[in-house]
Structure formats: C-alpha cells, structure tokens
Point group: C3
Chain length 200, copies 3
C-alpha cells in the first residue's frame, strides 16, 4: 500500500517535470510552467476518475500537489542540466507510464467498469496528461508523432486483463504487465520503432 | 428500447469512422487513428454525462467500444473507398447528429436538468466529439468553419422542448425533431448555407 | 446570498462577452460566437464542479444560460463599440476574476477539498474558461502570454486560505482577497508586469 502510494507520488512528480520542461522550451513564464506541469501530472488520472464518477485523488489529498510543486521546482532549478539528462528522463518516463497505466486499469476494475473500458481508462491515465500538455502548447499531441507510446500502454493493459482472467495473482500480474509496458516503450525508443500509417 | 440502442451503437460506429478518417488524412499512425476515432465517438456523450454527474455509458457497457473498434477497422480497410463515399458519409452524419442530439436532450431531461440546459447538452452530445477531434488534430473546429451544423442541432433541440411543452407525444416528437435537424443540415450542405459573420 | 448570486450572473455575462468578442475577431459566424461565449463563461466553473463531483450550476439553473445569451447579444450588437471599450473590459475582467476565484475557493472548501486543492480549483474557476476559449481558437492560451493573470488569482486564493486559517471573518476575507486579485491584475496591466521566463 505505502509503496504503491510512494511510487504514485513519484510518478506524479516526474510527469510534472516533463510538463514544466515542455513549457520552459516554449519560453513560457514560471507560472505557465507550473500550470503545465500541474496539468500534465494530474490530467490523465483526473480524466479517468471523472469518467468513473469519482473525485480525482488530488482534490482530497494535498500531497499530490506538493509532489507537483517539487517537480516544477526541480525543472526550474535544473533546467539546462535536465535537457542533458534526456535519456535518463526517457527511462523514468517509460517506468512511469507502465505503472500509471496498470494502476489505472486496477482502479477502473475496482470501480466496476467493463473490462474493455478498464483497458481504455488505464491507457488514458498514462497518456492523457501528455495529450492535454501538447494541446495547451498548441502542438499535435506527441502520442500521434512519437515511437510506440500509447500502444505500449494498451498492450500492457490488455495483458493485465487477460492474465487476470486466467487467475494470475494480481500483484504479480501488475508488476509483470507494467514491466512489459516499460520494455516495449524502451525497445521502441532504442530502435525508433513506429506503427504503420494508413493510406500513407 | 432495443431499436434506440441499435441506432446508438450504429451512430457511435459512424462517428468513429469520421474520426479515424480525419486522422488518416493527417498521416497519423494506426493507433492515433483508433484513438481519434474513439475520442470523436465518445467525446460528446461523455461530456454530457459528466455534466449530468453520471458515468458515460461506455464505461459500463463494452459494446460501445466494440462498435468503435469496428468503425476504426472499416476506416482502415476501406480508407480510399471511403473518401470517394464522402457524400454518403455526409448523409449518415446528418442522420447521426439528429439522433444523438435528441437522445441527449431526452437523457438530460430525464436526469432533471433545466430545459435550457437540456438543449445545450443535446447539442453538445452531437457536436463536441467533433470539436475534440479537431482540437486534437490542431485545427480550428469544423463547427466554426462549416455550413450550418451545430445550429441545426440547436434548432431541433429547441423544437423538441417546445413541442414537449405543448404535450406532443415524446416518441413522435423525438423522430420529428431529429428529422428536422437532419433536413436542415442536408439542405445547408446542398446549398452551402452558412450563418452571417459579425463585424465581417 | 442574493448579492453573490447577482454578481455571479453578472460575471458569467462578462465572460460570455469576452468569449464572443474573441470569436468575432476571428470572423467566426454568430453560432460560433455564441458557442465560444458559452464555453468561456461556464468552462472554469464547470471544470471545478466536475472535479468536486458536483453538477455544474448551469445544468440546474437556467438563469446562467440566459445571462450568457444576453452577454453574446451585447457583443453582437455593440461589437465595434466594445473594441473601443477595451480598457473598460479589462477593468471588469479584473473584478470578475477576483470574484470567481474566491467563490471557487469557498465552494471547494465547503465541499471538503484539501486547502491546497481549493487554491488550485479557485484559480481554475477564474482562468480555465479563457484557456478553453483560446484552445478552441487554436491559439496559445492567453495565460501563457499575458501580464500576470492567473498568478494574481493564485496569490489571492492563497491569501484567502491563510487569513481563513488565522480566523478572519469569511465575508471580510472574501472581499479583501478578491480585491487583492483585482488590484494585482490591474497594476500588472498598467505597468506591463510579467513573470520571468525560465532558461530564457
């Protein structure tokens, strides 16, 4: 329980860093960077919770907002250094989306969504923060341009539901499925894999 | 009941086709097309349900997501052929928005919204999927550029509320109002009618 | 109670005017202007209410939609004249965001959000309508470009929570905090103050 909670806060902080860095690159002021960091960090999970007719966690638990403020502060203080750490960030991002996606699937199933909706909502949890970030920055969302990203989430989410159906222990299942997502993502980055374009 | 349900699934599929085709034209990968088809299909209804403090239907009923997958598959398989079918698609789209709009008004009234809010929420059900699609594609929403579209929905929704107030049977009313929306839309396309611009 | 309600309706009308004017400047048709006015006016408060798992007020209370229609009508009738009134509009906008922000903080606290979330939700109430307006217009949101705006809201919201914690009477507190927001905003416009850019 507390480990999941700690990872969740940490993941929130990493997403906030990625959002604030996107704003910094666009030469947006400090507030804009904080705002973008915030929206990136809470966007996906909030959308999932709203669709499940729940309150987003950060509305009740201030720790998420503190994690975001720490993330934004890191991005401000270490801005130039972070750009040089792009590879490290990609690594943490791959870990983060795997984790967020599977936690999203679990939360949806616990709240009695259909299994196919849980897969979608898990994927949303992981990628929609970035979609909102890119839309705010007035850019075509990264998930439409980048190597396999949301597809990795989708694969892991489907795996989790399938393994759950055949009775695999849910903790083992969660770690395995999250790991698969991270691996697919890292392999895709390494070899610049992308999906085919239709009618291209 | 089952006829309404079948039309609703069919309409969802058509919206998914229109979303996926928009992504295909932008040379976005297969996942991006699926994602865009999905968002176009469920965007309007989900927004309405969230504002009514309900869960979107697709969260509980997996059939909607299957309808979307079928729609996306059709758009992938028949991509070039569909472009030649643009006129047929406009026809089905006109039928679809009439139906979605009136179903949206009914659902809002059943859930005790004010009548004026029901009109807005009906229109949202029909057009917001497209607005989100265009925003994701980084374009000015079609409803701001195209011949009378959302205005047709608004007119039909107002008609439905007025006829309801004078006691017209709700099934007759629904079919009549939806038909009016479809006709206004088709006439507007045929004669390229559009609303005046202010200060233009 | 009734004064708060009247100010709320008035603020909604002013936001609708600002949204419709933005659409007019883009030569969007009358429907598009109404739509943009509507989204600008209800966007921020609706997002706050959805995050609090409540129905937005306008779903139950038709008066808000009537206020919006009046605002849009004013913007259509007096379009050219309003452009010359830009300074007056800035003044009313500054009053409006102060008021909306503090009302948003109060509503969040009454609905038992954490205090730090109430600050964020108050700021959202005031600025997210404009963010959605700008995103729909396919522009980088104004809050990323303009002199201190959302930051003024944030400062006032923090002040409100702090003064509340030390026991200041809530009505006095509300007027004082809202006034501070309006003043910061007006001073920022007057002297073209903006926040520093990171890595700029």
């Amino acid at each position: 329980m507390t480990i999941i909670y700690a990872i969740d806060l940490l993941g929130t902080m990493f997403f906030a860093i990625s959002g604030a860095m996107a704003a910094n690159r666009k030469h947006i002021d400090i507030f804009g960077a904080t705002f973008t960091g915030f929206v990136t960090a809470i966007g996906g999970g909030s959308l999932r919770d709203v669709f499940l007719n729940l309150r987003p966690v950060w509305v009740d638990d201030g720790n998420y907002l503190i994690a975001i403020l720490i993330g934004v502060t890191i991005s401000v203080v270490a801005n130039n250094r972070l750009d040089r750490l792009a590879r490290t960030l990609t690594f943490f991002d791959a870990i983060g989306i795997g984790f967020f996606c599977i936690v999203g699937v679990q939360k949806s199933l616990v709240n009695e969504s259909s299994e196919i909706a849980a897969i979608i909502l898990g994927m949303f949890s992981a990628v929609m923060g970035g979609v909102i970030r890119d839309t705010l920055m007035n850019e075509t969302p990264l998930i439409f341009r980048k190597e396999i990203y949301a597809t990795a989430c989708l694969s892991g989410a489907i795996l989790y539901v399938l393994l759950g159906a055949v009775g695999v222990d849910s903790t083992v299942n969660a770690f395995l499925s999250a790991l698969i997502i991270s691996c697919i993502r890292l392999v895709a980055v390494k070899f610049k894999l992308s999906l085919p374009v239709i009618g291209g």
